[in-house]
Amino acid sequence: MNLMTHLPVLIVVVPLLSAALCVLFNNRKSAWLITLLASFFCFYASINLIQIVQEVDVIIYSVGGWEAPLGIELRIDALNALMLLVLSGSAVLVSIYALKSVEKEIPVQNQVLFYTALLLVKAGLIGICVTGDAFNIFVFLEISSISTYALISLGHDRRALHASYQYLIMGTIGATFILIGIGFMYVMTGTLNIQDLSQRLPVVADTSAIRAAFAFLTIGVGIKAAMLPLHQWLPNAYAYSPSVVSTFLAATATKVAIYVLIRFQLSLFGIEFSLLQMPFNKILMILGTIGILGGSVSAIYQSNVKRMLAYSSVAQIGYILLAIGLASEPGFTAALLHIFNHALMKGTLFMALGLIAFRFASTELSVMSGIGKTMPLTMAAFLIGGLSLIGVPGTAGFISKWYLVTALLDASLWPLALVILIASVLTLIYIGRVIEVAYFQPAPEGITQQKVPKSMLVALWIFALSNIYFGLYSDISLGISSLAVNQLMGVTP
């Protein structure tokens, strides 16, 4: 038995089993170690998978040797590989970061369970991104969501509990909607395999059942992706969850939901049906634009920096939706690039905030005065992340913004291009507020140089530097994105 051929399934199974191991060991140090090792394994696996996808072809793996459509098939094309890279990459960094952060923020008796839940979230999210089966997507989505609810509720502010509860209600409605949608598709075609579905759906596409399925799926995924106006759960959930969780969620969770959206809309229904026939492209563009402006403006008025970044995430999701709404090759490329790059910048920003929370037990703007002097390394990384978010050349954010604006201009939508750039200015304002307080206001009396754990700083800086690296050398991110777009456009009839 060659281990390499089983990588597609191992990348899900390893974190899943590690979660069980964590509980068995019931020791927080070893739980952390298991998490770290599992994350490294996933990262290693995803790099390998990407190479195979790029050099050979789409990977198809039949679980248990049962061929699709009878058996469950794991299918990894370039889009999946890209998502896996984002997921496992952030998972590694978050795991390194977790050791000290969890020690500080999570009560001792809960730490083992925290790592268990974290691994389950990873397994669930990775599962979504490898499976070629529509119902599996629902199951993995729920595995990750339920663990996420538990993780968010561990935030030290009691509002975390309520935020988690609200997310649970919204998330469950969303997941159930997805379930209904999958049910309708199954009834009309008799299959759950995505490849198979995409062949059979066009025949029955013009029926009310399929249209209903489309609507249910879209709303369901829209809730998970925090698409405006279904975003209300997100700001609280991000703001009050523990730093490790908010970092990981911000870098990955909504992206995976968007992946599901892309998968359903493009691979399943096809561009023709979902974007053009259903006028979903216009809806996406309008919602995306409102999301960009609304999210950015709301972010400006937040006094809690974590909440501010959460609203900024709503805006960034708007960018991605807008790009998908263009229904053109450059548009999809921009969307995928932004999924990748946004994970980098939000990861950096939330990690930096986690370090601040580590020292001051708060992420209110008011505690951050003079922090540029007392925590110079942390704030420098925050600055890099912020510049990337604004889209300054030389950072990853610039690349995706460039592609997005080019795509908009290609479609002669220059007013929207202007909106994007104005939103960049809004971003500048809310990042600028933090920078001003941190660098230009004096630190309160008695606060001197703050020590922070090395491991957290290392993880933070890897994130920060990758913002610059992928801003200067976009071969990797761009290569996979355009390959993914080619496959998406080729698959669709």
Binding site: L409, L421, I422, E436, G471
Partner: protein, 486 residues
């Protein structure tokens, strides 16, 4: 030395200087020696480049290529050399001046000041050497960010507010308009390289190209064309050496330099001549010239008056670029250099008056010429250069500008320039005259006022000499700007 190495040296010397300044932060003498040495070696390298470079065989150095066809690259061309020479020459001079000024004025955070200053010069040099719009844009944004700590140097509430105005206007225009214009250009032509003769001709409808030009010109907020000029007076809260080098030379010239480059190498001068929007932009520049002069007349604060004068002078160059005639481009490029020397002298004098006499208002300067004769004489000469009277450098560029408006058959702008010269005469030359000939109101006025600090005085003399020398030795500069349009 190979040209590529010189490019690298030009960019790296300011950075090394910045690091050196940081390392010597508790030894002021060594720290300032480092700045001066950095400045002089930069000047040496730029001069070396100017002598060895052959514009017929341009050398491109590609630093990075984030994605295909879009790179960060350096290439020298005549316009860039003018800018690099001016900035490279004035940096060591300003450093010299700053030593006298900062010490006499007991400024705080001097290390941060010198570091940010050196990095700003790095960004300026990157602008001068940029081979394409992307490099230019990146360096342009860096310049905004690195000069921000200099603007907010005082750390007071007023300085912070000014910092927000500064950042807000410059960033909003550059990201909102300039970046949009750049990406639009990319999407129309598939390249951003500065190419002789332009890249946009025939690529789109004239209406679209006209709109693009408007985006470029308004997007370059550093050029301070009305209505995006508010940041420049706001930036005057910075220490005087900053106002002198950055807000009379490096930053604002980076703005007009960008417009010139776009006009010459992106649109091409012939295309500019055909666009209606270029005509209206040149009219707007004319309006800016006159109205900024009128505002300047009503400003009692000396630095504010100089700032509005700068706004007016910058629009000379925008106007020259928008005329769409070859003589306009040459006049504009020459004016970049001439105005730089004159305006930096004026700011030096304003700073000298501040540290020696603690005066900031024009109305308080009556009779100061008796105690600060050298400073005020320099002020007089520099003002005359700005007005454009011989025997000073400014007369050449003014003369060429007038000729360019005639070439473009634009009598309105010809009148604007003449009226503006008259206004200059009133609000600038009047100051030294009253300083020498008017009687101070207070009989004890002269008590306690002495000539500027020695270091500063040397710097003032150097730049004043520059204004004079340029009148007699204008040939090298002329030969250089002639090569912009082969």
């Amino acid at each position: 030395m190979s040209i590529e190495l010189l490019y690298i040296l030009i960019l790296i010397i300011p950075l090394i200087t910045a690091v050196g300044v940081l390392l010597c932060h508790n030894k002021p003498d060594i720290r300032e020696t480092v700045t001066i040495i950095g400045g002089i070696s930069l000047l040496f390298v730029v001069a070396n480049l100017a002598l060895t470079y052959d514009f017929k065989e341009p050398v491109t150095l590609t630093l990075l290529e984030p994605f295909a066809g879009l790179s960060l690259a350096l290439r020298l061309e005549p316009l860039g050399l003018v800018f690099a020479l001016v900035a490279g020459f004035l940096w060591p001079v300003t450093s010299l001046y700053a030593i006298g000024y900062m010490r006499a004025h007991h400024e705080q955070n001097q290390t941060r000041f010198y570091t940010a200053f050196a990095i700003s010069i790095f960004a300026t040099m990157a602008i001068a050497l940029s081979a394409n719009l992307l490099t230019l844009f990146l360096a342009y944004e860096m310049l905004t960010l690195f000069t921000l700590p200099l603007v907010t140097h005082a750390g007071t509430d007023a300085a912070r507010r000014a910092g927000w105005t500064y950042l807000g206007i410059l960033m909003t225009t550059s990201i909102g308009f300039l970046l949009l214009a750049i990406i639009w250009t990319w999407s129309l032509t598939g390249t951003l390289e500065f190419t002789s003769g332009g890249i946009l001709a025939g690529k789109a409808e004239p209406a679209i190209l006209g709109g693009l030009l408007v985006l470029f010109v308004f997007g370059t907020g550093k050029a301070a064309l009305m209505p995006f000029h508010r940041w420049l007076p706001a930036a005057m809260v910075a220490p005087t050496p900053v106002s002198a080098l950055l807000h009379a030379v490096a930053v604002v010239k980076a703005g007009v330099f960008t417009i010139m480059k776009v006009a010459v190498y992106i649109f091409g001068i012939d295309l500019i001549g055909e666009l209606d929007s270029a005509y209206w932009l040149s009219m707007l520049a004319g309006f800016t010239i006159i109205s900024a002069s009128i505002i300047a007349m009503n400003k009692d604060n000396l630095k504010a008056r100089l700032a509005y004068s700068t706004i007016s002078q910058l629009s000379y160059i925008i106007l020259a670029a928008m005329l769409g005639v070859a003589s306009g481009v040459m006049a504009g490029s020459l004016h970049i250099a001439m105005h730089a020397f004159a305006k930096i002298t004026l700011f030096f004098c304003a700073g000298a008056i501040l540290v020696s006499a603690h005066k900031t208002k024009v109305s308080e300067l009556d009779g100061i010429g008796r105690t600060m004769p050298i400073t005020m004489l320099a002020f007089l000469l520099a003002s005359l250069s700005i007005v454009g009277l011989p025997p000073l450098g400014g007369s050449w560029s003014k003369w060429l500008l007038l000729q360019a408006t005639m070439d473009a058959h634009n009598m309105v702008l010809l009148m604007v320039l003449l009226i503006s010269s008259l206004l200059n005469l009133f609000y600038l030359v009047g100051i030294p005259l009253r300083a020498f000939f008017a009687k101070p109101v207070d009989p004890n006025y002269s008590l306690g006022i002495k000539e500027a600090p020695t270091f500063s005085l040397i710097a003032i003399l150097i730049t004043t000499a520059g204004c004079l020398v340029f009148f007699f030795l204008v040939n090298p500069a002329w030969n250089l700007v002639e090569q912009i349009l082969p």
